[in-house]
Structures are given as C-alpha cells and as structure tokens.
Symmetry: C2
Subunit: 383 residues, 2 copies
C-alpha cells in the first residue's frame, strides 16, 4: 500500500480527497508555474528517511534519544521535502500554540507601539507568533477574560501593558494555561517590567528645583481614564515627595491632564500658562506631551531653557525626537521593556525557546527594576 492508491480502498464514509502525489519541491529560481503539489507531512518525512513518525518528531524538535546520524538524516530529508509541521496539528496534539498575545490599551501613541515593536522582535525571533489585541477599557478586559474565555487554547502567554490585573484573574489565567507577564503594572508572583515611577517624579522635581524653581507645573494623567492608569498618580506622588523634601508644595491647579499625547500636552501647557500664577517650570510625564507643550511654548514666543526669561521643560522617555529639540528627559528603554517582558514570558513557559540553558534559574517572579537616567539638554539649561 503506497501513497498512490487514491480512489480505491475507501473503507467507510468520510474520506476527504487530496492531491496524493508529493511532487519534488519546485525550484524557486525559475518562474515555473508551481505544480499543485501537496505539502509534506511528517509521514512523508518518516518514510523518506526510513524511520517512524515518532522519531521524526523527536529529531525535528531536538528531543533526546535520537541517534546523531538519524537526526541528521531526518533534518536533511525534512529540508529536502520542505517540510514544516502543521501548527494546528501540533497545537492540538501538544496543547501549545507557540503564540504570544500582546494586550495593550491602544496601538496609538509612541510608547505602546514601541513596546509592541520590542516584544514582537523577541517573540518572532523565538519562533512565536505574535498576536495583538487592544484592551481600551475594563469592559474589554472582562470580555477577554471572563467565563467564555477568549484566550484559552488560543495563546500560550499574555503580555499586558499598563493594564492592572487582580491576582484572582491572574490565577485564573494560569489555570487556563495562559502564562502572564506585565509591563507597567505588576501582579505578585508574575514576571513584570516596571520602572520606579515615583522615582521618575522625584528625579524630575529634583532637577527643576536644582535649577532654581519652586512652582512646578505637571503635565500628565488622563482626564477620563477607563483603565485606571496608575503611572500618572505615582509620578505625581514622586514630585510631591521630592518637593516636600525641599519644603515646597505642588499646587493642585498646577497639574493638568495631558493624555500622554502631543495634543494633550500642548493643551495642558496652554492651560497652565493661562493661569493667574502660572508655574515657572514644567514636567511633562512623557516626551510626546513635552513636544506638544514645547510647541505651545514656542507659539507664544517663549523659549524653553533655564536662562533668564526662559521656561524650563522636561519630559520622560527619551523619544528619538527629544534629541532633536534638545529636550531634557528621563530616559527609559521602552522597546527593551517589551523585549524583556517577552523574554521573561517565554523563559517561564519554555526555557529552551528563549535560548535559556536551564542552568540559571528563571528570573521574573520578582518585578524587574529598570535604570532611569536623567538626560539634561537645552530645555532646562541656560543658552
């Protein structure tokens, strides 16, 4: 019984027909019309290599207990036949999807898309498919994680960016076989990438006080915040703490929502400048907001800087454009946040995929702290 007994020997109902001859892989060079060939299955490889499918499976996945010679032969045959395991079949049989899902409040905005880019690179390199899903509100999060779970069996792991998850939900995810890593938030016991956001606020306030200012304006926060975003609160608290150290206070009216975009940043700056007693120096909680604020400043003929008559302004992130406009900022490696979270997730799920040798223990059950660096440029210097 070979593979060519096509129309005969149908023992019962239900057979599907498929092109039955496995043609030799077509040369790609010539633009020859590709023969409607069937793709190779593990059985084709097995018979061509003269071994069983189990051995092929083991060899191809670099599992132990395969003779070196066998492994090499199987690999050669698989390459020859251009064999690639069917992901659906292997998912069904193994229960793993080799897919990582990125959950983010939004795809718009520099921060989120940069994080996604960093995570995508790592996942793709590790052989994981990358799925993205926007979670703009808690209602969406509920829809995703509630009883009729939209992640279960569809993904091996979830990276949540700036989305808080209660421990119960996290445990439920684990129950359903979905690993978890977070960025910007943390769930006890799960890998997380966080920066010390209070320290961000402290660094900013310290710098602005250092260059001689007492009335600090803060641009940040979201007016209507469906995701209960904690970062603005923490950074604000840091500012207040640091100011308190110097016997100063943050005026409530000197805090404006900037929505973490250029538009909001510009509007917030205008709003603050229109105050009767405007702040004399400004801290925007992101570079994008700072850019908007800088535009607003320049539009009024004001110059950002610490010289006489100049208005100090600083941001957070070290966006590429910050260098161009010489914006003082607090640098954080945003793409790396995504990359590291992805790496932690994959290591936790399957050390081998992450190039992990299994010798050193997997980190990540403790939130990772990231080094912050104050980058002083012209917008807070005399010039």
């Amino acid at each position: 019984m070979t593979t060519s007994d096509r129309e005969i020997d149908r023992p019962g109902p239900g057979p599907r027909n498929r092109p039955d001859r496995l043609a030799p892989a077509a040369t790609t060079a010539g633009g020859r019309a590709p023969a409607p060939r069937r793709r190779a299955t593990i059985e084709d490889v097995a018979s061509a290599a003269g071994v069983s499918v189990a051995t092929v499976s083991r060899a191809l996945r670099s599992l132990p207990n395969v003779a070196i010679s066998t492994r090499e032969r199987v690999n050669a045959v698989a390459a020859e036949l251009d064999y690639r395991p069917d992901p659906a079949a292997s998912r069904l049989a193994a229960g793993r999807t080799r897919t990582v899902t990125l959950g983010i409040p939004s795809l718009n905005g520099w921060y989120f898309s940069t994080v996604v880019a960093g995570a995508e690179a790592v996942c793709t390199e590790s052989g994981y498919d990358v799925q993205v899903i926007c979670i703009p509100s808690y209602a969406d999060l509920d829809r995703l994680l509630d009883r009729s779970h939209r992640l279960e069996r569809r993904t091996d792991g979830l990276v949540l960016v700036d989305i808080s998850l209660d421990p119960g939900r996290a445990a439920d995810l684990a129950t359903r076989g979905v690993s978890l890593a977070t960025i910007g938030t943390a769930v006890p016991g799960y890998p997380a990438i966080q920066i010390d956001d209070e320290e961000v606020g402290r660094i900013a306030a310290r710098h602005l006080v250092d260059i001689g200012h007492e009335r600090i304006g803060v641009i940040g926060g979201l007016p209507d915040d469906p995701m209960d975003f904690v970062v603005p609160r923490l950074r604000r608290r840091g500012v207040e703490d640091e100011l308190a150290t110097h016997g100063l206070e943050l005026d409530d009216r000197h805090v404006a929502n900037g929505n973490f975009g250029m538009t909001g940043g510009g509007e917030a700056m205008s709003e603050l400048l229109d105050l009767d007693d405007p702040p004399t120096a400004f801290f925007a909680m992101s570079d994008e907001m700072a850019f908007g604020a800088l535009m607003a400043l320049r539009e009024r003929g004001l110059v950002a800087g610490s010289g006489p008559g100049q208005v100090p302004l600083m941001g957070v992130d070290d966006h590429e454009f910050a260098r161009v406009v010489r914006l003082t900022t607090i640098r954080q490696p945003v793409a790396e946040h995504g990359a590291r979270a992805a790496r932690l997730l994959i290591e936790g799920m399957h050390p081998h995929d992450a190039g992990h040798d299994g010798a050193t223990p997997v980190r990540g059950t403790v939130p990772e702290r990231v080094v912050l660096e104050l980058v002083v440029r012209e917008t807070t210097s005399p010039h």
Copy 2:
C-alpha cells in the same frame, strides 16, 4: 461504560489522562476556588443536548439543515456548559485558522500604528485573531514567503502595508491558501487600498502656488529605503507635474529626505533653510515630518503662515496634532485604510464573517480610491 472509568480499561499504549468529570460551570460571582474542571468539548455538548456531534457542529456554526428547535437547544446547552470550540482542532479539521496577519515595515510611526489599529478593530470584531509581523526589509519578506513558507497554515489572510509584492509571489500566496490585501501598494487582481499619491503632490503644489509661491521645498522620502517605498516618488512626481502646469520647476536641491518621522522632518527643514537660495514654501509628505519641520522653523524664530515674512508649510494625513498646531494638511482616513483593507480581506475569504449578505458582489479586486481633502489652516494662511 461511563466517562468515569478513569484508571481502568486502557486498551493499549498512548492514552493521555485528563480530568474526567465535567463539573457544572462554576459560579463566577463568588470567589470560590475554581474546581480543576475540564473544559467542555463538543461531545459534552452533544450528549447533554441529546444529539450527535455533527449536529452540534452544524448548529453552532449556523449551517443549514438543523431544526430550529434543535439549534436553540444546542445553543442553550453550549452556553450552559460554557463551551468554546478548540481553535486548534477546528483549524486542523477545517483548514482555516481564523487568523489575519498584518505585515508592516515597522510598528513605529503614527501611520503604521494607526493602520494596524484600524485593521485590528475590524478583525477582532469579525472574530479573527490578529497577528502582526514586522517586515523591515525585502530580506525579511523573502524569509516570510520563500520556500519554507512561514505563513502557510498559520493564517488565512495577509494585509501588507506599504510593501510591494510581485504578482508571482501573490499567486504563490493564493496557492498556499493565504488571501491577500494591500494598503499603499497594489497587486493586480487583489484587493487594495490606495490613495492617488500623485494627486497628493498636485494638491500640495497647487495650494502653495495658489498662495503665491514658486520655489517649493519638499520634505519626504527615505534616505536608505530597504522597502523601495513608492509613495515619496509618486508624491514628488505629482508636485513636479503641477508645477509644470504653472511653468515652474522643482529644484532637485529643494527636496530633502525626511524619513517620515518628526526627527527627519526637522532635520530636512534645517537643511533646506540652510541653502543659499532656500525654498519659500514647504510641503512635507506627512504631518509627522511637518511637526518636526515646524519645530525647526519656530526654533529659528520663523512663523509658519502665508503672511509677510511668514513661511508656508503643509503636511499630509491630518494627524490629530495638526489641528492643535493649525497645520494645513491633506487629509486621508488612515485608520480607515486599515479597517477597509481588513474588511475586504475578510469579505473575500468568508463573506459571512464580514457581515456580508452575499447578495452584493464582493468588491476589492479593483483598488479602492480614497477621497483626499485639503484642510487649510494657519500654517498656510496669513495671520
């Protein structure tokens, strides 16, 4: 023989153990520890509803030939048991993945992430998983589409953004069961979303000539372009065409690469302003570049506008921030590009999923043209 004869009756090798009792769905309200229950399979639904698995499968997918009463009962039981079909199993059996892949040169930048956001929304709403993959160079495209095809069997359709594909490759995709739609480029016979980029150039040039300028500076293009991006060339040609209409010419030295980001836009503007005979009005091929250019302008104390001593500047896209800085621009609905491409793709693959009734024919084998709108604001007006 019931479902509880767990440890006995193993007729041969190879059985996997699984928790065998299907517990009643746990109440979510109480924080009760979730019993390690097994998820419902189609068989559970079938036996609970007193029908065969085939009927359940048909009923749940709204296929014909199911009695209404049966359909309702099956749906009720499925909901009761919180049943969700295993995607891997259904992919394996049906050969469809219900996944759409988005291929983009980069995730950074407003345009790309906005397109992705638009596409993601539509796909998610239509019940498709959304996968993203960055294709920053043709080498990456090759790696994706060559003989050992990294898309085959993993996705139902591919949306390519600003990436040119030769007809042969597109046909090969089809052969492998992957549908295709493009944005910003087109392959004959496949759905595509495009704007008339030459018209963009013409509109811009016409507007700047209309307000009295002859020496136009153009900011756009990529210095090192791994993806052979055609948009800058087309827009430039449009500018040249329109200028020719007025007996004018575009000076080669008045064209600078802006890399489609704020940074490049700022640098390009500086470069052009430093010329011995700088242009008197500027067209940036994207709003992001225009923002950078505007910064550069303001940094030199120059004001964007068409009044005396002012420098006209316009962009493309109608980015949210354009309104804030009152940037004249040529509006295109970017998120909608993504949404429409996704819709065309899904309609082409499976009209039902797109909410398509099958009555009207699926469009999309003809590139869709999009309405462009000149939005005049202060940066090209006297004020």
